[in-house]
């Protein structure tokens, strides 16, 4: 069909011989399976870091901001550095889901879900810093313009810090609904695959009762498009406003008009680097290499290289403008940045952000997973130092040489920063085990144009589908019995009449030991009863379980507790 046409030169975005059902199975697998040891180890480390951060925050709030390394010259340091760093990281999520949607980039579909999750989790980390810095975080609601008991004491709408409150909260909440709306069909898929009642209930709740009518999909697509259209200027506005926090001040080094575009490019740069870090690990751990391919990694590397180059241009422009302006305070601020006592931080920023992404010009390097991973970490470090350099070097040599000083963080500064990294990973790790980490409904919609199976069919000149005319017909009578499908009721109580007998000629014997709770001995017993396949096991109901217990007389109730039928259904699905 013409609508599924894609130029043969485009590489497949879903590799492997995959149809629609295979996509469901692969995406649901990490959710339905159990966490491995590696996950628990990483989760424990992240949780420990998070708890350290919680301790540091409690110490800060109960003692005061004096526990930080701030002094009267450098009165803004790690708190705002971390805030800007985390907000910046958040930007890639919206960029991937919104801007790439508007540009109809199909490769976004493998990564948008995780990128949006990363956005939300990192904006949460960012939001913590201003709230902690308030000193009395329980009064954080004072930033909201609500009528109050202090007379006409309103918030100041001329202040970029208040614009930030509106920008960040709009950004966080809009990203959240954008993410959740996209999740509904995928939660619906997991709900409908779930065999255990508890899971079914939870995913039913999370899916908001997603049904998938044609009208729902029509609205869903329109809503996604409009949200993308709204989120695109939103994401640009957020970091623009964050940069106003500095650009509207009169501090040399901050008072520059290039800040908004420079900050936005830097945000996308660092955000893509973080997406790269997370997805390179996740594709491996969750076995999603067929969906997050080397092609995806390469495309993200190209974005990193381009935005890194834009950031590099901005650095150089800043230096040029400082010289060209003829303002000696401005000139000194930049000279001090590059050659003053913080030269090492400046050098680190320059080499990590401007030099390191340039290796991506080589195809060998940008398709190498190991190097991509290393560069993504390097970029994240570099972008943290960028904010540190902008903030601390502009402050530490102020108007009076007698008050010139350096900044050194205390263990509390470090603890809160490490804590937010821990918190971020705690959230992301929980997400990766409980959420469909790839937008499977959207992947299915591009499968015929960009899936390997269909590309091969098209290249071979074969049709992508065939109309088979041998459908089966069944009848359901509502109102007479509760059973949904009018299966013939078993007249006698023999097991095989309901489970179906095993035909060695057409069916294959399954390894029943794969079902948890069936050992070699039980397998023999079952074989003795004529049960050889998962198909037969999957039909077990309460009646058959009781019958089975009475025959085997081993561990009564065990089979039902372990949900052999549900397990068998899963195994059956994985087999097909």
């Amino acid at each position: 069909m013409a609508s599924h046409y894609e130029a043969p030169i485009r590489k497949p975005l879903v590799i492997g011989d995959k149809g629609y059902h295979d996509v469901s199975v692969d995406i649901a697998a990490p959710v339905e399976g159990r966490a491995n040891k590696m996950w628990w180890i990483v989760f424990s480390i992240a949780l420990a870091a998070f708890l350290w951060g919680v301790g540091s925050i409690i110490y800060t709030v109960s003692t005061g901001i004096g526990t930080w390394g701030l002094n009267k010259t450098v009165n803004w340091a790690w708190d705002i550095t971390n805030f800007v760093w985390w907000v910046g990281i958040g930007h890639a999520g919206t960029l991937i889901s919104a801007v790439l949607l508007l540009f109809r980039q199909k490769w976004r579909m493998a990564i948008n879900r995780s990128a949006e999750a990363m956005t939300i989790f990192s904006v949460i980390q960012a939001g913590l810093f201003p709230i902690i810095h308030m000193g009395r975080p329980w009064l954080a609601y004072w930033v909201v313009p609500i009528p109050n008991q202090f007379g006409s004491l309103w918030v100041n709408f001329n202040s970029p810090l208040l614009w930030d409150v509106f920008a960040i909260s709009t950004y966080l909440s809009v990203s959240l609904v954008f993410w959740w709306t996209g999740l509904l069909p995928d939660f619906g898929m997991i709900r409908d695959r779930a065999v255990k009642p508890f899971q079914k209930k939870i995913y039913g709740l999370l899916s908001f009762g997603w049904t998938g009518r044609a009208k729902d999909w029509q609205r869903f697509e329109e809503v996604s498009l409009v949200l993308a259209g709204l989120a695109t200027p939103l994401v640009l506005s957020v970091h623009t406003i964050v940069s106003f926090d500095f650009a509207t001040s009169v501090i040399p080094g901050w008072h520059t008009t290039i800040f908004p575009p420079y900050f936005v490019a830097g945000a996308i740069f660092s955000g893509f680097a973080m997406v790269q870090t997370l997805l390179i690990i996740m594709r491996k751990v969750s076995h999603l290499e067929d969906y997050i391919t080397v092609q995806h990694i390469e495309l993200m590397n190209i974005v990193i290289m381009i935005t890194g180059s834009i950031v590099g241009c901005a650095y150089i422009t800043e230096l040029f403008i400082a010289w060209y302006s003829g303002v000696e305070y401005e000139q000194y601020a930049f000279l001090n940045r590059a050659t003053g006592p913080y030269w090492w931080a400046y050098l680190l920023m320059m080499s990590c952000n401007v030099v390191s992404p340039q290796v991506m010009w080589f195809k060998k390097i940008r398709t190498s997973i190991v190097i991509s991973f290393i560069i993504s970490i390097v970029v994240n470090v570099g972008m943290w130092f960028e904010r540190f350099v902008i903030i601390v070097t502009s402050l530490h040599r102020d108007y009076l040489p007698s008050s010139w000083t350096m900044f050194s963080p205390t263990f509390v500064d470090i603890g809160i920063f490490i804590g937010t990294i821990g918190f971020f990973f705690v959230l992301f790790l929980l997400y990766s085990r409980t959420f469909p980490v790839i937008a499977q409904a959207e992947v299915k919609s591009i499968l015929k144009s960009s899936g390997d199976r269909y590309k091969k069919l098209r290249d071979a000149g074969q049709p992508l589908y065939t109309i088979k005319k041998n459908g089966i017909v069944r009848e359901t009578i509502l109102g007479e019995s509760d059973s949904k499908n009018a299966l013939p009721e078993a007249g006698n109580l023999s097991l095989l009449s309901t489970l179906g007998s095993f035909d060695a000629g057409t069916q294959t014997v399954d390894d029943l030991k794969k079902v948890k709770g069936i050992g070699p001995l039980m397998e023999k017993t079952l074989n003795g009863l004529g049960i050889y396949s998962f198909l037969q096991l999957s039909k077990l109901t309460k009646k058959e379980y009781d019958l089975l217990d009475s025959i085997t007389e081993a561990f009564p109730g065990r089979a039902q507790r372990d949900d052999w039928a549900g397990q068998a259904k899963l195994l059956l699905n994985n087999k097909n």
């Binding site: 920008a167 044609a214 999909w217 809503v223 041998n470 069944r474």
Partner: protein
Amino acid sequence: MAATVIHAYYDDDDVLMHAVKRVKAKKLHIEEVYCPFPVHGLDKAMGLEPTRIAITSFMYGCLGLIVSIVMMNYIMIEDWPMDIGGKPSFSYIENMPAFVPVMFELTVFFAAHLMVITFYLRSRLWPFKKAENPDVRTTDAHFIMEIEVHNNEDELKDLLLDTGAVELNIIKNNH
């Protein structure tokens, strides 16, 4: 609900599209199609009206803009005008450049959230809502076309099987 409906199952979006076109060509009414993923062009082929949700979003955005202007005009100009840095707040329009960021943010806030709430209510999506898809396979890899039967059961059966339905479920309601 009519006495009898037929659920025709399909396992491919292209086959489904052909089937929808053939059923519509026979001037039959398709009650509903349940899909695991968006099928482009299905709404048009089925004869669904275009959705107006983008229009509501525009109106909500206008509302947000008005709310932000009224709010900041009251707070910054009328209730307690301040003289900040020698720039007194006596006129909204003269002070407007400083209010643009919040005007923009609230426009987006209203347009996005109220549109999504409208979508959830119109498509009946909320926590604890029971899913209404007739078969669990419709969120995985199967499509179901629902057609009411009006004394044409055999004719419909033949037509649907001929369009490549992998399964037909004839639901008789004896209530």
